[in-house]
Amino acid sequence: MDHFPTNWGRPRNDAFDAYGTYPIAQRPYNGPTTDAFSEGIQHTQQPIVTGTSVLAIKYKDGIMMSADNLASYGSLARFKDIQRLHPVGTNTVIGAEFTQQDGHSLGPSEIHEYLSHVMYSRRSKMNPLWNSLIVGGFKDGKRFLSYVDLLGTTYSASTLATGYGSYIAQPLLRKAVEGNEDVITEDEAVRILEQSMKVLFYRDARSLNKYQIAKITADGVSVSESRSADTHWSFAEGIRGYGAQTQ
């Protein structure tokens, strides 16, 4: 017998509690959903503070990823010491702590699957998490590298890049990596990423010449200290005017 009058006469939700068995506090609420607080809820329509490209490649020992340290506020290079590469548990780089109390751990594949559900369901509610994420990891001797974004789109390849990187760096990464995933050494992988980060700094107007490289192998995850690429700007001395016009 249901002693709680507020539940009498309410339709039960067959989708997740066909026998009306859940604790009363969690019973589906079929009344009006707007209240004073919900008036203030906003849906993300456009990003305000943004990060630029993230690059990732598979190499012989695992995965390598790079991202610069900049968070832009429109055209202002506002926050210049942001770490955009995050370790997750013991064998993945992107997000939060994922080893649970009972010893069962979530590896990169499980984390990516979970994220893709979260991203897609937020998109379907017209309130996206406005991100493009690359999930990379190494578990049970296997390399994992996948992409998920604000639309819930997912794909996987030996080289991945977000933002401008997917236009400018991707061809360079593919040329260097595709077919060679199992022979590229750690030093070669670093050089491949360094070269791409340099090109991106030259060409992406919202980038910064201060970046980190993360490495995931059987030994675990490590994110490097920030470093910079050598660049040459001496050509600028001889420029007069803008483009074809020379004053």
Partner: protein, 283 residues
């Protein structure tokens, strides 16, 4: 006979007060007991026996099926929850259906969210927490069914007992239901050898344990016994793969054949319906 859980003296003291503290789920007795929950455990003891045991490579369930009469079918005692998890029930079958449906939903949802089969301990904790709610809310009654849950996950094969009190424990071997104490006695004697048993030997132990719960003149046969297995197939099976499967009917005859025959000399079996204790007479 099932042995009482509490000392005789405690039970006697308790008898005087039992009736005043046993109608509401949310009332403790002066001895600190919830009688409604204990009565729910009694309902589990009314169900026919089920036995579970595990080795390093397999977990198995064996259950005794009851029939209401010669014309009726035998009550199903085992359910598949997911490829890697199965259960045997003892008690109210209708409550079992609701809980096993919930388990299936949880297993499926966890598999979808994380792209991996749900760890068995998580699944069992989910129904244990759900059952506990019914022991603490006014107006709700505890579930009247207990489970033996077997499964395999990243950390190997498992066997759990779930009870309507909301408790769940992992076991090497366990039995629930009517006259299950006899089966437990057998299991306690032999459990140390289970870890390294082959699947066939494990099932043989389980069948012997299950037979302990029968009356003198009864025996296990292809109609009243079902076997649930998770792990690599046995030599008597045609399947491949390690998924949970239920074996019933003629397919279990090879397993029954491995049993040591009963000591009692076989008398001509002529069970009249009224003397068959495994048969429940309907009013």
């Amino acid at each position: 006979m099932a042995t009482a859980n509490f000392s005789k003296r405690a039970t006697y003291l308790d008898e005087q007060f039992r009736n005043t503290y046993d109608s509401d789920n949310t009332v403790f007795s002066p001895q600190g007991r919830l009688h409604q929950v204990e009565y729910a455990l009694e309902a589990v003891k009314q169900g026919s026996a089920a036995v579970g045991l595990r080795s390093k490579t397999h977990s198995v369930l064996l259950a005794l099926k009851r029939s209401t009469g010669e014309l009726a079918s035998y009550q199903q005692k085992m359910f598949r929850i997911d490829d890697h998890v199965g259960i045997a029930i003892a008690g109210l079958t209708s409550d079992a259906r609701v809980l096993s449906n919930f388990m299936r939903q949880q297993a499926m949802s966890s598999k979808m969210a994380f792209n991996r089969p749900v760890p068995v301990n998580r699944l069992v904790s989910a129904i244990a927490d759900k059952a506990q709610v019914n022991t603490q809310e006014y107006g709700r009654r505890p579930y009247g069914v207990g489970f033996l849950v077997i499964g395999q996950d990243k950390s190997g094969p498992h066997l759990y007992e779930f009870s309507p009190s909301g408790n769940s424990y992992e076991y090497y071997a366990m039995s629930i239901g009517a006259r299950s104490q006899s089966a437990k006695t057998y299991l306690e004697k032999h459990y140390e050898s289970f870890a390294d048993c082959s699947l066939e030997d494990l099932i043989k132990h389980g069948l012997h344990a299950l037979r302990e719960t029968l009356q003198q003149d009864k025996d296990l046969n292809v109609n009243n016994t079902s076997i649930g297995i998770v792990g690599a197939p046995s030599v008597h099976e045609n399947t491949t793969g390690i998924s949970f499967r239920i074996l019933e009917g003629e397919t279990i005859q090879p397993f029954l054949d491995t049993m040591v025959p009963k000591d009692v000399p076989a008398t001509a079996p002529a069970p009249a319906a009224t003397t068959d204790e495994d048969v429940q007479m309907t009013e």
